[in-house]
Point group: C2
Chain length 285, copies 2
Amino acid sequence: MECVVAVDVGGTFMKGGLVRDGAILYAERRPTPRTEGPAAVIAAISAFVTELAAPREGLRPTSVGLAVPGLVTPTHAVFSAAFGWRDVPAAAFTDVSLPVVLGHDVRSAGAAELAYGAARAEPDVLYLPIGTGIAGALALDGALYGGAAGWAGQIGHVPVHPDGLPCACGQRGCLAAYASASSIAARCGESSAEAVLSRTDEVARRVWDEAVEALALALATATLLLDPALVVIGGGLAQAGEALVGPLRTRLAARLAFRRPPRVEVSALGPQAGLLGAALLATTA
Amino acid sequence: MECVVAVDVGGTFMKGGLVRDGAILYAERRPTPRTEGPAAVIAAISAFVTELAAPREGLRPTSVGLAVPGLVTPTHAVFSAAFGWRDVPAAAFTDVSLPVVLGHDVRSAGAAELAYGAARAEPDVLYLPIGTGIAGALALDGALYGGAAGWAGQIGHVPVHPDGLPCACGQRGCLAAYASASSIAARCGESSAEAVLSRTDEVARRVWDEAVEALALALATATLLLDPALVVIGGGLAQAGEALVGPLRTRLAARLAFRRPPRVEVSALGPQAGLLGAALLATTA
């Protein structure tokens, strides 16, 4: 049976697998050796692809899709601050003799949401995975929009509270400084946002409320600018489910004066969105 | 010579004219009788169109373009809070036997900027006319984007300072509460933003600085979300020229950590953008 090799390259983990028509036939997770430098990450991806593409009973990989962060075209990883990449050609990521297609990690995951997830049948969607950071993918008129230079969707660094909390990017008051899973955890001295959610003390409640309010402010702005029909929250924080989207819907409506808010849903694909998105890239090879 | 009838219907004035290929052959301005109710405005537009379409030496109007505020399709003014319209068909706006096309006022002006103005040859542009209010038109991949329901571009009401100055919309901290020409004037007890600019006292300087900073915050957010190559400032406030865009460019760059700002230019078409945009609508009849 024909299938594709898909790898979603995150800052901490790489998720790889074999996929056919949106069905994950095999999946595996490996650490991303980010601290070992740009070449080490490329070598690790290449080794991962080689093993995923190795002969398996009844499965025949026909192409490779790699979802990576930064500025990316189908043929080049143009720039990645996270990995220190500049103009890495797609062929550098594999030793196997299969066609390889690169794509932007968040936009690829957004494409999977459009194809298989909560955003199916909605042409105008904002997809917002929340994890270590916060990124966004914009589906406009049914197509993913990358902006003039491929940098669209950087919603994690919009200034929701000008001159507010410091952010790792160097600015203050960014959405991510309040609402990324890592910021929520760090502000409460925890190792995860789930740990914060399970606490009932005043500090944890205030940090969570400020995270939801920051998201409501950023989504109010995105709604006014872009008028999406649907917002899909993905990434690790989406696992909070109703504890997140319930108050978020209320606060978003409260921040909008003269228009109804868009629907806000949790991703149905969860962390698989990235892998399925990488597989969609492979199908364009 | 063939030409089109164009009317740009603003909240205070209607600008009408005869246009051919982006050249204004005749232009006239009339007050909009907004306080007299929904039907009075429609009747005034109809009378204006009839007179514009009347026989003139050597000019033969072939169609009518009307740029109006609110939610609008080519055949209907679906909703306008400013005029109290609901589902007004295009034919209701004229008695003449010419085809009529309706369009959104700000997006039509944005189309003119794309066709004739500063945005020519840039596919990804944010056009921001600043006057009594602040609106926006988004050109994405060379096409104007209206959002899921036609409400995109409402940048005047994005919350730049959450819980800041009260806005007429009922929210607080909206961009328009700081940076619309009318807000700038009202905060200084003046009748126009030009009067504020000509003052050198501390209050006037602070109000102007806060207006520019609010614009920088909103544009930083729009830049991070949409990655436009160019921002075009139009409307009455654009007449401030370098006094506006000079400090705006500096403050926008200061609000962006990891990416360069888009170019920021003043509209070359100025207040004619709306009329030329209405004429472009007519050419689609």
